[in-house]
Amino acid sequence: MTRFLTREAAIRWAPLLVLIALVILFTAINPDFFAQRNFARIAIAAAPALMVAIGVTFIIVMGSIDLSMEGAVSLTAVLFCFAFLWLGGTLAAGGWLAIPLALIVGGLIGLINGLVHVKLRIPSFMASLAMGFVGTGAAVLITGGDIVRIEDDTFRALLTWRIAGFPLMVYVVVILAFLAWFIQNHTTLGRNFYAVGGGEELAHASGLNVRRVRITGFVLAGVFYAIAGMLQVAKLGQAESVTGANFMFISITSVVVGGVALWGGIGGVWNTVVGVLIVNVINNGMVVIGLPDYVQDGMLGLLVILAVVLSTDRRNISFVK
């Protein structure tokens, strides 16, 4: 029992301690790291990634996995840009309509993911991986390989308008993180994610419509990917078929490093927030202390393995695939 308690405590607090240790470490090596400007830089890099990671958190809590984020982010970003330009090219002139539109598209991508996974009974990692490829393909198809630019100052204010040194998008992301936390802790849907993740058969036996919960989870994740897509557009001022590239690796790493267990039921939005910060602090810190940026993917690879190993209770597992 004591071991169980320490384990719980470790999973809850270890990621945060790691984050603090990293900040101290990088600051010790190069004091420039601990500066408001640099923190703003980390926050901007982390903002879209956090939205993707929160989306996939809901899925991982259910014990499934969603690998469609690269395609979903690219496709929603591209469609958002096209809709934005078509509706007038400025937020005020009607471009704001593109925002709900992108959210709906994201939800639809998630819906298809969920339906393919649940109705065709295909393991989620493969169903979503395939859908991700389709999404990227669709983004290539729509753009023809070109870049779509948005030059609306009002929309770009998400990046350019700073309050207390941090751009607007950071505050938007913080609010959305609270929203995600609210969904997770204070709605039936959020609790149902944990019920499914904690024990699918038990949840089913208690009368929960597990399939519907799963599909809804994927829809919710898709909506968050769409938000990430729009933030990417706000950040870069453009969208193309590779806008979502690399989000898969980064977001899964972040979620797992934050302490959300891959087999479901453990961890949540706050773990993911910490995980995203850890990953981005490492990425930023390695540059600040002068390490070449190509080390990052390898580091993240080691980190994710370490995190899964540390968070796995090996006495309860007979084999993994």
């Binding site: 490829f133 393909g137 669709a138 993917d297 993994v320 695939k321």
Partner: protein, 313 residues
């Protein structure tokens, strides 16, 4: 006619139907020279798919295959000058070792294979960027032709790649059908717990399966580097999806246990014909990824043995 009895024959029937269908629309397609060059072009993909077959056969997946091939193109380009022909051995050894590492992480540390291979893929990508300095590298053409020229080019009308492909297929078929390793892998794929209970050293054989997958991905990378006479950290991107599709449409389901390398040979040919037919019917290259994504979903849905999964996560 029972559909379950027909199921093992679906792959080659699909292939035949596709070939006839495209052939009827474009008679040039059926010319032996065209068919052979089509088959020759798909060989790097085939070799990667051949390796993936082992990972999927035991119910796992190897998502690092593409990054592995990427890295090997760089390794081959960098070390060709100093190591000569031995660079091939180095490539295969690296692939084998990193595949072994994926297997070790999966079996001993209980990390699901799609995560462990994704992570090892990240390592490969870092190493490729480091080795190449993030540039596209070129091989010395004369040296390449002298040492690896036999891999490419033609004998008569037959592309030389095909000999390599057939040789590797024969080796893999031998491993699968005639060795303890092959039988053990089948046992693991058919039912891991039962295999462990009957005294099979499951972990060791699974590690070997991932190692073979890594080694063959390395061979694919080497061949690709020779074909293009160079390497870069992202040069083989776009291989992973069709390679997985090739394994699955060939009839080795994600759940493992049935199918095998011969199925993958047929699956790869199906991929080749689908690709060629897309060109003939004016589907742009940019849309191929979408088509293959959808084919992948269909192939998984049709081949998977759902009785093996209590709950589909």
């Amino acid at each position: 006619m029972d559909i379950q009895r027909l199921k093992p024959h679906f792959p080659w029937i699909t292939l035949l139907v596709l070939v006839i269908f495209v052939g009827l629309n474009d008679p040039n397609f059926l010319k032996p020279a065209n068919l052979l060059s089509l088959a020759g072009d798909i060989v790097p993909l085939f070799i990667m798919a051949l390796g993936l077959t082992f990972a999927i056969y035991i119910g796992g997946i190897d998502l690092s295959a593409q990054s592995m091939a990427n890295m090997i193109t760089v390794v081959a380009s960098v070390y060709l000058a100093s190591l000569g022909i031995w660079v091939a051995l180095l490539c295969v050894a690296i692939g084998f070792a990193l595949g072994m590492l994926s297997g070790f992480i999966t079996t001993r540390l209980f990390v699901p294979s799609f995560i462990s291979t994704l992570a090892v893929g990240g390592l490969c990508f870092s190493m490729a960027q480091w080795l190449s300095g993030n540039r596209a590298l070129n091989m010395d053409a004369a040296e390449r032709d002298a040492l690896f020229g036999w891999m490419i080019g033609r004998t008569g009308i037959i592309p030389n790649e095909l000999f390599l492909a057939v040789a590797l297929l024969a080796i893999c078929l031998f491993i699968e059908r005639r060795t303890t390793l092959g039988r053990a892998l089948k046992a693991v794929g058919a039912g891991e717990l039962a295999a462990a209970a009957s005294g099979v050293n499951v972990a060791r054989f699974k590690m070997l399966a991932f190692a073979i997958s890594g080694a063959l991905a390395a061979v694919a990378g080497l061949l690709f580097a020779v074909k293009l006479s160079g390497g870069a950290p992202t040069i083989a991107n776009g291989f992973l999806l069709p390679a997985i599709v090739a394994v699955l449409v060939g009839g080795t389901p994600l759940t493992g246990g049935v199918g095998g390398v011969l199925n993958t040979a047929i699956g790869t040919l199906i991929v080749a014909v689908i690709r060629a037919s897309m060109l003939y019917f004016g589907v742009e290259a940019t849309q191929q990824q979408m088509v293959f994504g959808l084919v992948l979903i269909a192939a998984i849905a049709l081949t998977m043995d759902r009785s093996k999964l209590r709950t589909v996560k």
